[in-house]
């Protein structure tokens, strides 16, 4: 599962490999760090220290999300998020490798998380923190979604050969072959999902 944001004119903005590495690192590191700081801001005490910790956490989360929106229209994100029929030989090959990597990492993380939850919920052993409230699970949900979208791109950012400057110049001269249509059904599905989630959360609470 991944996500790709097509620009209105169909042009793919230039993103260097270093910028992509930084952006994917910020997304994958910033979100969990920010979420942990924000959820544990109470440990900093009350009043101003708690507020500062909370704002710092929120800032890190915002940084991670902004970094994702920097990644979203890039060439690497196009490889993992575009429809397969729009990709060429090399891009399909890279996509397969990126998805295989992301699958292994995500399954490893999920297995580790389930193991941790099993231990944390076993009262006869250790007393560990486990997610309790809607706030906790909401944070985990968005984190998993962000990881699913970003891990394949992070793999490409760290393994894909850099584009030669002469190639980048050649790209500047090229005119987009076609103007892509907006996938209204996809946006409709996202909006409907958001509304359904909102209503469900209200009904449950």
């Amino acid at each position: 599962m991944s996500f790709y944001f097509r620009t209105p004119k169909g042009r793919i903005p230039n993103r260097s490999r270093a910028a992509m590495r930084l952006a994917t690192g910020l997304t994958l590191g910033g979100y969990p760090a920010g979420a942990l700081i924000m959820l544990n801001s109470g440990l900093a005490g009350e009043g101003v220290p708690a507020f500062i910790a909370s704002v710092t956490g929120l800032g890190l989360i915002a940084l991670g999300v902004f970094a994702f929106f920097y990644i979203a229209p890039s060439y690497m994100q196009r490889i993992v998020g575009e429809q397969v029929c729009e990709l060429d030989d090399l891009e399909r090959d890279l996509r397969q490798k990126a998805f295989a990597f992301a699958y292994h990492v995500l399954t490893g993380l999920v297995a580790a998380a389930i193991f941790y939850l099993a231990v944390a919920n076993d009262e006869t052993r250790l007393t560990l923190w486990s997610p309790q409230s809607y706030e906790h699970w909401n944070t985990i949900f968005w984190g998993v979604l962000l990881y699913a979208f970003t891990l394949p791109t992070a793999y490409l950012a760290w393994t894909m050969p850099d584009i030669e400057p002469e190639l980048a110049e050649e790209e500047d001269d090229t005119i987009p072959v076609r103007k892509p249509g907006v996938r209204w059904w996809l946006w409709g599905l996202i909006v409907a999902g958001g509304i359904a989630g909102f209503i469900l959360a209200r009904v449950i609470t």
């Binding site: 030989d89 090959d93 190639l167």
Partner: protein
Amino acid sequence: MSSPIYNRLPVLRAERALSRKALADAVGVNFQTIGYLERGDYSPSLELALKLSDYFGLPVEIIFSLKPFEPLSQIATRKGD
């Protein structure tokens, strides 16, 4: 790790005064893919190798090889002798 596949794409492109973009459009790939192929960063699929072979009107083994190609200067020197 698979062994590298060497190719004569830069020479064939230069002979025909083709840009990467023109060749890429002709075989239906992104122009960056041609760059990666020429640099040896990527080994083509059978489909792409056959498309390139068809486009240049040459057998696949003339364009791609598992062994490095002999430099043209050496071939020319040998023929001169």
